[in-house]
């Protein structure tokens, strides 16, 4: 199955269930299909499955509850980190479900994502939004205050070239943090370039379906050590039948 076919399978099942917002697990299935670096995570439907997956991945693990009604997981306290033993996992299994019920009593629960505890890296954010004139645009910036407060981000229209990706990375003001300021080692710039190019490819391929996308945060490690998408959010749309041609948009035909 091609990456696009795999992605469409996920998207179509989400649309069929009447949703447009993918849960993290679904979003990451799509990213994975396109070769983006996502952690080895498993969706556990039962406690037994959770214990089994945690054993497979190796403790400590993280637990994230997946519910279409809970998209801001930390607000609902359904992300629990650093679970060290099976006993603790059993106990937290109850806690995480209780938190979900308290936040949204009607929350439909798809399962709990069991994920490895990741080494913390420099946080970046990659986003996609659809502009009414130019189509999908790709955003890049450092995470945290750099995006929230300083709005230190940059955009390009998709698809981008490798040169665009490298320029995006260099043109944010906080670039010195990635380049390695004050004796810090430089971050893995090539890994970010690769991420930007893959997101561009993914969105270009699925442009009829993708409305918005946020990879936030992405951890970037030191040079040569790669990057990993920690959390992901995708909003999809029903592909519209190509609208009757707008005035002036028959340009190619005219010039043929």
């Amino acid at each position: 199955m091609s990456a696009k076919e795999k992605a469409l399978e996920v998207i179509e099942s989400v649309l069929k269930s009447g949703r447009t917002a993918l849960v993290e697990y679904e979003a990451k299935q799509i990213l994975k299909a396109y070769g983006l670096p996502v952690p080895e995570e498993k969706l556990a439907k039962t406690l037994d499955e959770a214990l089994h997956y945690a054993e497979e991945i190796g403790y400590p693990v993280a637990m994230k509850l997946m519910s279409p009604q809970i998209l801001h997981k930390s607000d609902a306290k359904v992300v629990l980190l650093n679970i060290k033993t099976p006993e603790e996992l059993k106990e937290k299994w109850e806690v995480i479900h209780e938190n979900a019920r308290r936040y949204r009593p009607d929350a439909e629960i798809l399962g709990v994502l069991i994920a490895p505890m990741l080494k913390v890296g420099r946080e970046i954010i990659i986003g996609v939004t659809e502009d009414p004139q130019f189509g999908h645009a790709l955003m890049f910036g450092l995470g945290g205050i750099f995006v929230e407060v300083l709005k230190d981000v940059t955009f390009r229209i998709i698809p981008i070239t490798e040169r665009d990706a490298r320029k995006m990375i260099r043109e944010i003001k906080s670039y010195p943090i990635l380049a390695g300021a004050r004796g810090e080692e430089p971050a893995d710039i090539d890994a970010i370039v690769n991420l930007l190019l893959k997101v561009s490819e993914l969105v270009d391929d699925l442009r009829d379906y993708i409305k918005e996308m946020d990879l936030n945060p992405v951890f970037v490690y030191n040079e040569g050590e790669g990057a990993v998408v920690v959390d992901a959010r995708i909003i999809v749309k029903e592909p519209v039948e190509k609208k009757e041609e707008e005035i002036g948009s028959d340009y190619k035909e005219r010039c043929a």
């Binding site: 502009d131 009414p132 004139q133 130019f134 189509g135 645009a137 940059t154 955009f155 390009r156 229209i157 981008i160 070239t161 040169r163 665009d164 320029k167 707008e246 005035i247 002036g248 948009s249 028959d250 340009y251 010039c255």
Partner: protein, 474 residues
């Protein structure tokens, strides 16, 4: 494709015969001003085509036979300019189609910018154009101004607004009022405009078409745009990538803020996109974004003169006869992302040997206030021959007592011609300085009134050169 767009646009810029639909003898009316523009230009021998006024109520205007209808027009009519009320335009378009006219400028307003009813009429006009291979500029615009061929549909009369002389700059504007004000201003500044197009609601001919046309227009060195919104972003991006490989495009995009964006959408019924997205589009396509009106023409002036002599790198050499101006220019070099050139040892030696002891053989080189034109020549000679210098900014304070004005002008012009490094000049001062600055510009050296503006214009050249280098590598 190339020939097609050139062939389609030709009647707009150089018609064999223009029909002025809605021509009238009532002074001050749009249909009168446009008729008069053509009539006067024909009298002066600039406009060489025929003029056919169309108005069912008149027999003649100023000795010209008036046609009762489009149907009656002679067969050589290749351009129609329409200035009749909006509701009559669709029917007139049908007549134009029957007559076989392939280029139409619709000056009339009251279409898409007014709402649904107007949009419906626009669609109808477009359908007729489409089915009959007619290209349309407008509606809701001031149309076209070409000083070389005498085409002038700008309905603001000559006694209220000056027209600029011809030059290698094309100016394209969505807003008609802005276009008119700009032409008037350019005339005052003696900036040459080769072609101006104001396309208003752009139901057909748009930015992308014009970019594709200007690729092939040898009269035009640089294309400037005043943009409020783009309808078909993909088409815009593709066309922009094509033209920027051949000639520079400078865009002034309004609607930068929330407020501005709202004003734009109610203005010509177009959509103004988020500013950050435009920034991205300009970066990706090599369009140079102007910060404001002044910046746009500062850049245009530099490109008009130096498009074929772009700097090889970003290392700037500065020559000045005033220390303070040199410092200001050096600050601007840093501010606009350029580098001060490190003069080679040979250059420093050459300057030291030929300068009097109190002149400063560094970068910036200060030829100081007792300079004559020859001392400038020494400095320029040194910079031109220095492999570490990519581009030269020469500040001439014409006020210093021993400087022979015409001689320094000749020296700058001479090096502009014989050196492959671009030179821009800065001349700060009042009326007397302006007089010499114009003389210098006549000889191909762009002149700026402050060191900041001179360096910023040079930064535009460097940026475009870098872009060209980049796309050539791809």
């Amino acid at each position: 494709m190339a020939e097609k767009i050139v062939e389609e646009m030709r009647p707009f810029f150089d018609p064999k015969a223009v029909a002025i639909i809605g021509a009238t003898n009532k002074k001050g009316k749009v249909g009168n001003v446009i008729f008069e523009n053509f009539r006067i230009n024909k009298e002066r021998g600039i406009y060489k085509g025929e003029i056919y006024p169309v108005n069912p109520k008149l027999d003649e205007i100023e000795g010209y036979k008036v046609y009762k209808s489009v149907e009656e027009l002679p067969g050589d009519t290749d351009l129609a300019v329409i200035s009749i009320p909006a509701p009559f335009v669709p029917a007139t378009m049908r007549d134009i189609a029957k007559r076989g006219i392939k280029a139409v400028i619709i000056i009339t307003g009251g279409f898409g910018e007014l709402g649904e009813e107007g949009k419906k009429m626009e669609r109808e006009i477009y359908e007729i154009a489409r089915a009959n291979g007619i290209r349309v500029i407008g509606p809701n615009c001031v149309g076209v101004y070409v000083p070389d061929t005498g085409v002038d549909t700008v309905f603001l009369p000559g006694n209220k607004m000056d027209r600029p002389k011809s030059g290698p700059i094309a100016f394209v504007s969505q807003s008609g009022a802005f276009a008119a004000a700009m032409l008037d201003w350019a005339a005052g500044e003696e900036i040459g405009i080769g072609k101006m197009v104001s396309y208003g609601n752009k139901i057909d001919v748009d930015d992308a078409d014009l970019m594709d046309y200007f690729i092939h227009d040898d009269e035009i060195n640089v294309v400037t745009f005043y943009i409020e919104g783009v309808k078909d972003g993909r088409k815009f991006i593709e066309a922009a990538k094509r033209i920027t490989k051949v000639k520079p495009v400078i865009a002034l995009k309004s609607g930068r803020t929330e407020y501005g964006a709202k004003a734009a959408s109610s203005h010509t019924g177009s959509l103004a996109g988020a500013d950050t997205i435009y920034d991205a589009v300009f970066k990706q396509t090599g369009i140079i974004r102007a910060e404001d009106f002044e910046h746009m023409f500062d850049l245009a002036k530099a490109f008009a003169a130096l498009k074929d002599k772009l700097p090889k790198g970003n290392r700037i050499g500065i020559i000045t006869d005033g220390g303070g101006a040199g410092v200001m220019a050096s600050d601007a070099v840093a501010r606009f992302g350029l580098k001060m050139a490190d003069l080679s040892e040979e250059t420093v030696k050459f300057l030291r040997e030929n300068f009097p002891p109190h002149a400063v053989p560094k970068n910036p080189t200060d030829v100081v206030g007792d300079t004559d034109a020859e001392r400038y020549r020494i400095a320029i000679e040194g910079f031109v021959n220095d492999p570490n210098v990519d581009a030269i900014v020469i500040i001439v304070l014409f006020q210093v007592p021993l400087l022979e004005e015409e001689k320094i002008i000749d020296i700058l012009a001479e090096y502009q011609t014989k050196s492959d490094k671009p030179i821009v000049a800065v001349a700060m001062g009042g009326k007397k300085t302006d007089y010499y600055a114009r003389m210098l510009e006549e000889k191909g050296v762009p002149v700026y009134p402050t060191p900041e503006r001179g360096v910023r214009a040079m930064a535009g050249l460097v940026k475009y050169a870098e872009y060209l280098h980049r796309v050539e590598g791809e």
